[in-house]
Amino acid sequence: MSDGIWLLLGLLLLAYLGSNLVGGRAIRGFGLPSGSEYLVLGFALGPHVLDVVGRSLAHTFEPVVLVGTGWLALVMGVGYVRVADRWINPGRAAVGVLLAAVCCVAVTAAVYFLAPMVAGFHGFQRLAIALGVGACASATTRHSVRWVVERHGARGPLADFAADAARASALVPPLALTVLFALSPGGALPSVPVIGRVGITLGFGAMMGLLAAQLLGRDFRRDESWGVMLGTGLLTLGAADRAGLSLIGATFAMGLALASSRHRLDIKAMLTPTEKPVLLPVVLLAGAYVSLKLPTAVFVLVGLAVVAKVLTRVWLGTLLALGPARGTGADFGVSMLASGGFTIAVALAFSTRFPGVASDAVLLFAVVSTVLGEWLAPAALRRSLGRAGELHMVAEGDGGRLSDAPDSLVSRESHG
């Protein structure tokens, strides 16, 4: 049997493990909110340690990575406007997007400023690495918030704010990548201005999403719907890739458009269970893709980018302590450092489009951010929620509060 089959089976095994974590309740007992353990596992299996997944083998699975990252964006888009059984609060969502955007701009600016001096990046490579790192710095993973909220049975305005802001922050990375891909030279639409390419990416995704929503018809039949979902999803990904547009941007827009369907809950119930099975293999492959054979200057640049992200988040946390996160000090800002699978997916999408040192640097930044966030963020959020008086002891065996999915959905997702 070929190495490819073995790797495929390994990825399927991971997907199987991921599926068992999807129910929501299982996540409270074990596993890390960011999925860092799979990142480390991928790194250990990769060319730097055990070399089980060599570079060429990992690259054989590039289409799987591309589809995986796009699919994750689609799932994020579909679930973007709803948290559990309620709509996302527009005010809190706006703040969440703003926080993510500020962090993206600040880190992008810092890297753009430092890149030529520290690591000698110039021209488009300088812009690419800056915006790539900025995109990876912007989102706060909703899984971290969910993990803490469920584990500690948190209820209250701060818990809701954290959940809404984290979910809303997912808008920024796809947008940043869409702009970056539109800025990059080459592609199918050289005569179209950058803003036009951004519009085409998002418009094309939205059009395919609306088409899929219309095709799902009056009655929702899950079996038939898979043909429509998979068909439109893969066609969108393929067309965007061929035209040099951002896959993540297109499928995220497609997800948002799909969320306008009257079947949005059914679609969400159908797609959400696919998130973990797709995420874990993608994260594992990302671990295998990580390269440490980089010039020292690049490590320094990545380190400085991480510092810029931490400082920005702490500063934002201090500002929030005056408003929705009153009395939490900088802790709430630190809690927003959490990043996870989606950030890794964004970095992978970047690295498959812009291979080279810049991509290695962006992936390394995403990995370091994820591991750092894993260490700091959940504890900081727990402290913040404790200070806000929103933590409640959860008895053994009690499911606690599910921040991300209503019981009806969870039971369907768990068995779907």
Partner: protein, 455 residues
């Protein structure tokens, strides 16, 4: 695949489906023809998306014509494939081969699960008589027909009579092959229940094993006739014996393990099936065991030695809703239209005669077995389709007889293509006519989504 009763769709729905179909074709046409210079890392994935979407939509649009869904899938593949609009190229079609592996594993599993001992016992006489007659009469008759038509077949007309007889014997053996995939596809779509559905399924699954044995015998006998200095060797049967016994042993073990898993865990069946379809098939091929027979046995064991059959069937159906579309659409894309155009007359003649022989034999066997009227009248229709098995065995013949292999295989492809297109239509027509098609509304429910405005 949707149920049979899903045809009650309005003009608006059909218009949207037609629009989406045009969009999918236009999109891929624009990408492949207007900007061919652009590389795509996702050519295979794009092709999968296109074939699944176009196949699903075409099958829906063909519903009012009472055509089977798999005709829609085939048509999508034919239109988009390398011989028509060239939206999906040869290389991509070849890269979709793993999908066939997965689909065949699912089809065999589902086929095995559908075979209940109690049902088989009730049609045992019918199956035995039909298997015996269909195998021998079709073999003999089609061997004779090939000999008669040989002057019109370019590669056969100049063969010495011994070699010609050998080739005709191979043709006769290949004519006995049926299509489990087409049968399962139609039964899955129509959700048919009744004597005709039971007979067709039981017969076709059983004929799988018979055909493999028969072809091995035919190759063994044909070799000294076609290849000078070759002698009859029993080694083919030795290998075949190992293959069949090994498949049944591994299939039984797999079935028991699956039953235990379904009983104790039961979750994530789709991933388990994916692992089995890709991983186990590769392992089985490595140890030279027949995957189709192994999965068929496994499904049979789960159904008859445990009470987990319905759970397994449901999971296979759920996955099959996409995999079968892709399987048949890929088969359509693989359909060699130029080859078909070249040899269509002789292939059509051979297909027609095969159909007539099958029909007459079915009438005879039904009378002898005392089958119900529906099986007497329509039992032959499920036996007409040919697909992957015939093509696969054509490759075996090509490998065994390099001298005549390639033109022989071309004729197999042409004939199987015709049977692949016409056969399913006949079978569905029969199920509709006999009232075995489930005409109730398919499992559907209104959306749970509230009608509240988005905040």
């Amino acid at each position: 695949m949707s149920g049979a009763g899903s045809s009650q769709k309005g003009l608006g729905t059909r218009a949207i489906q037609a629009f989406a179909l045009v969009v999918s074709f236009a999109l891929l046409f624009a990408l492949t023809h207007l900007a061919p210079q652009l590389d795509s890392r996702l050519a295979t994935m794009t092709a999968i998306g296109f074939l699944v979407l176009a196949g699903t939509l075409l099958s829906e649009l063909m519903e009012p014509l009472k055509l089977p869904h798999l005709s829609g899938y085939l048509l999508a593949g034919i239109l988009g494939g390398p011989y028509a609009l060239h939206l999906v190229d040869h290389q991509t079609v070849e890269q979709l081969a793993p999908v066939n592996t997965l689909a065949l594993a699912l089809i065999a599993l589902a086929g095995g699960v559908e075979l209940r001992v109690t049902t088989l016992r009730s049609v045992a006489k019918s199956l035995s008589v039909a298997s015996l007659l269909q195998s021998t009469v079709v073999l003999v008759a089609m061997t004779g027909v090939f000999l008669v038509l040989a002057p019109y077949i370019s590669f056969a007309k100049n063969l010495p009579w011994k070699a010609l007889f050998g080739v005709a014997l191979l043709w006769g053996a290949l004519s006995v092959t049926r299509s489990p995939s087409a049968c399962m596809g139609i039964l899955s779509q129509t959700r048919a229940k009744g004597p005709l559905a039971t007979f067709s399924l039981g017969f076709i699954m059983l004929s799988n094993v018979i055909v493999i044995v028969m072809l091995a015998a035919a190759i063994m006998l044909a070799r000294p006739l076609i290849t000078p200095n070759a002698t009859i060797s029993m080694s083919d049967f030795n290998v075949l014996g190992h293959e069949i016994l090994g498949s049944i042993s591994i299939g039984t073990t797999l079935g028991l393990l699956l039953a235990v898993y379904l009983r104790l865990v039961g979750g994530q069946l789709l991933l388990v099936l994916l692992g089995l379809g890709f991983g186990l098939t590769a392992a089985l091929k490595y140890v030279q065991v027949d995957p189709l027979l192994t999965f068929l046995t496994a499904g049979f064991v789960v159904q008859n030695l445990s009470n987990q059959g319905s759970k397994l069937l449901q999971a296979v159906d759920q996955m099959g809703s996409v995999v079968f579309v892709l399987f048949f659409a890929t088969a359509g894309a693989e359909l060699d239209l130029p080859l078909l155009r070249q040899g269509w007359a002789i292939a059509l003649a051979l297909c027609l005669i095969r159909g007539v022989v099958t029909w007459m034999t079915a009438r005879l066997s039904s009378r002898l077995a005392g089958d119900p009227m529906v099986v007497r009248q329509w039992g032959w229709t499920g036996l007409v389709p040919q697909a992957g098995l015939a093509l696969g065995l054509g490759i075996v013949v090509e490998g065994a007889f390099p001298g005549i292999g390639t033109p022989f295989r071309s004729l197999v492809i042409a004939a199987a293509s015709i049977n692949e297109i016409i056969g399913p239509i006949l079978f569905k027509l029969a199920l509709d006519r006999t009232g075995e098609t489930d005409t109730g509304e398919p499992v559907a429910r209104p959306s749970l989504a509230p009608r509240a405005p988005v905040h």
